[in-house]
Amino acid sequence: MATATWSAKGRENSKIDRSGSRWLSRISYYAFMIVLSCFYFYPMIWLVLSSFRENREIFTNPFRFPEQVNFQNWADAWQIGHISTYATNSVIVTSLTVIFILLFASMGAFAFSKLPFKGSKGLLMLFVIGLFMPLQSFFIAQSYIFDKLSLKDSYMGLILPYIGVGLPLAVFLLKSFLDSIPKDLIEASRIDGCSDRILFIRIILPLLGPGLATVAIFSSLNAWNELLLAMLYIQDDGLKTLPVGLLAFSSRYVTNYKLLFSALALITIPMILAYVVFHKRIVSGLTEGSLK
């Protein structure tokens, strides 16, 4: 795959090279792309640099390199500002959400794709609603139900709705994944005496590997970033996830910009590192996830 693209590139380049003004076009291309990249990266770099500044410096010299690179601001945000607590909560909520989405969605997709049953079309149509409707179309009554079930201010109060919101897309994606697997494979294992349960565990789950990775990526990003429900259902500061935690943080340190910048830097840097390490998988996961 990689070598094929490279040789193709080589051929393309030699074609481009034949045209006369190649240097000018090449230089203007790179100049334009570098300016554009700065526009993309400079705000993020500025954020990290500002997190090292003193409050006074933030106002006086926004462009110069900070007077000293001191990680004390980060440590303060992490400890005093409870970012560590919020991050732990986010990890717990996100990982449980993703595990359950993967399990339930793959079970559902298996039945919808490979086990014909009465009412499957209708049930599948119901899931379509979940693809389009924003949280605002159901949070009012959901909040009421969760109140009655005393689910608010608990991890379950966030995990349950996150699973519900994530399931439709996950089911559709995994189903389309399974639809491309030939029926013969299933029938052959049936003849060998596989029950549905064994079929699912031994054959379907291993086949679904790449699909599950895709689902894991987009559902973990969604759960990690969700703000509205986390804001409505969690009042206890010790249970807040990062997005709501950050809201609470900013209202507490409203003018302490260095702490705010530090908190943002602390959240941003791991996300960017994860992206740099896994970017191929993440990009294909996110694009497949929302286009299917």
Binding site: E12, M33, F132, G164, S176, F261, T268, I272, V283, S284
Partner: protein, 296 residues
């Protein structure tokens, strides 16, 4: 050979049960209950009084609510330009087969990775009138008169917020189009080059027409996704100044939590759901008539 086994079996139902039950409990039942709530006057604690269509009548006379649809309309039109069209341009640029274009592709996608709340705060600071990047740059190049309180100016606020959405998602649509362009067989380019086509011709006459279906899907995602916008507006402006950035979702949250009008908020949510469902059905129909490739 294709004789289907029509013995009734419980097992498919057991497999779909967890997802159907969870989805019903957390989303379907609440949607139905929201519909019921919308016919009552209720603050969430006290007496529920049945008022029929009063909430709906009130909604259609609510200036801010109607305005919020206008803002969503502006937002959607601009995101189509800023995200889909700019994404197309970016995809054209990074598929020009220049050395290092892969690096630019990674760079333009990076903002997609940031949590929306971080993006919102980051740009709130970039727009800040005292120390923000935009005003600092304008001051340092002698354009002091152009500086303003970007998010505090009712004329600019919605464009300022929408621009941020463009900053985040142009790279996302670029990636989708990039994947589509990669699928175009190489010999098409080769023969085009032999016929003397420029990069410009190749972009407009080969790349764009051949990923038409992806562009259509992207526009549909912008239209339906526009209604899902919330975090950016909530954190950056929370509807202000003077309702100039109020969108449907932020307004519903405000009605429910600041005014404690569960019934009225529910009616607003039901109207929004109907609008979205209609848009979804219409775009899907148009798409099917077109070439019938869209799944869902």
């Amino acid at each position: 050979m294709n004789r289907k086994n029509h013995r009734f079996s419980i097992s498919p139902y057991l497999f779909v049960a967890p997802s159907v039950l969870l989805f019903s409990l957390t989303i379907l039942v609440p949607i139905v209950m929201t519909f019921v709530f919308s016919f009552y006057d209720w603050n969430g604690f006290g007496q529920m009084t049945f008022t029929g269509f009063d909430n709906y009548v009130r909604a259609f006379q609510d200036r801010v609510y109607l305005l919020s649809y206008w803002h969503i309309f502006i937002y959607i039109v601009l995101t189509i330009i800023l995200e889909v069209f700019c994404g197309l341009a970016l995809a054209g640029l990074i598929t020009m087969k220049r050395r290092g274009s892969g690096l630019f592709r990674v760079a333009f996608f990076t903002p997609v990775m940031l949590p929306m709340i971080v993006v919102s705060y980051l740009w709130k600071f970039v727009y800040n009138s005292d120390f923000g990047l935009i005003n600092s740059v304008l001051n340092s190049i002698g354009l002091e008169s152009w500086t303003r309180v970007w998010l505090g100016d009712p004329k600019f606020a919605i464009y300022a917020v929408t621009f941020v959405s463009g900053w985040v998602f142009a790279g996302y649509y670029m990636t989708i189009f990039y994947a589509g362009i990669q699928r175009i067989p190489n010999d098409i380019y080769e023969s085009a080059y032999l016929d003397g086509a420029s990069n410009w011709d190749i972009f407009f006459k080969i790349k764009i027409p051949m990923i038409r279906d992806l562009v259509d899907v992207a526009i549909m995602l912008c239209v339906l996704g526009g209604f899902q916008a919330f975090d950016l507006f909530y954190v950056m402006t929370n509807g202000g100044p003077y309702n100039s950035t109020e969108i449907v979702t932020t307004y519903i949250v405000k009605v429910v939590f600041n005014n404690m009008s569960i019934g009225y908020g529910s009616a607003l949510a039901v109207i929004m759901s109907i609008v979205i469902a209609t848009l979804g059905i219409v775009t899907n129909k148009l798409k099917k008539k077109d070439n019938g490739t869209l799944e869902y």
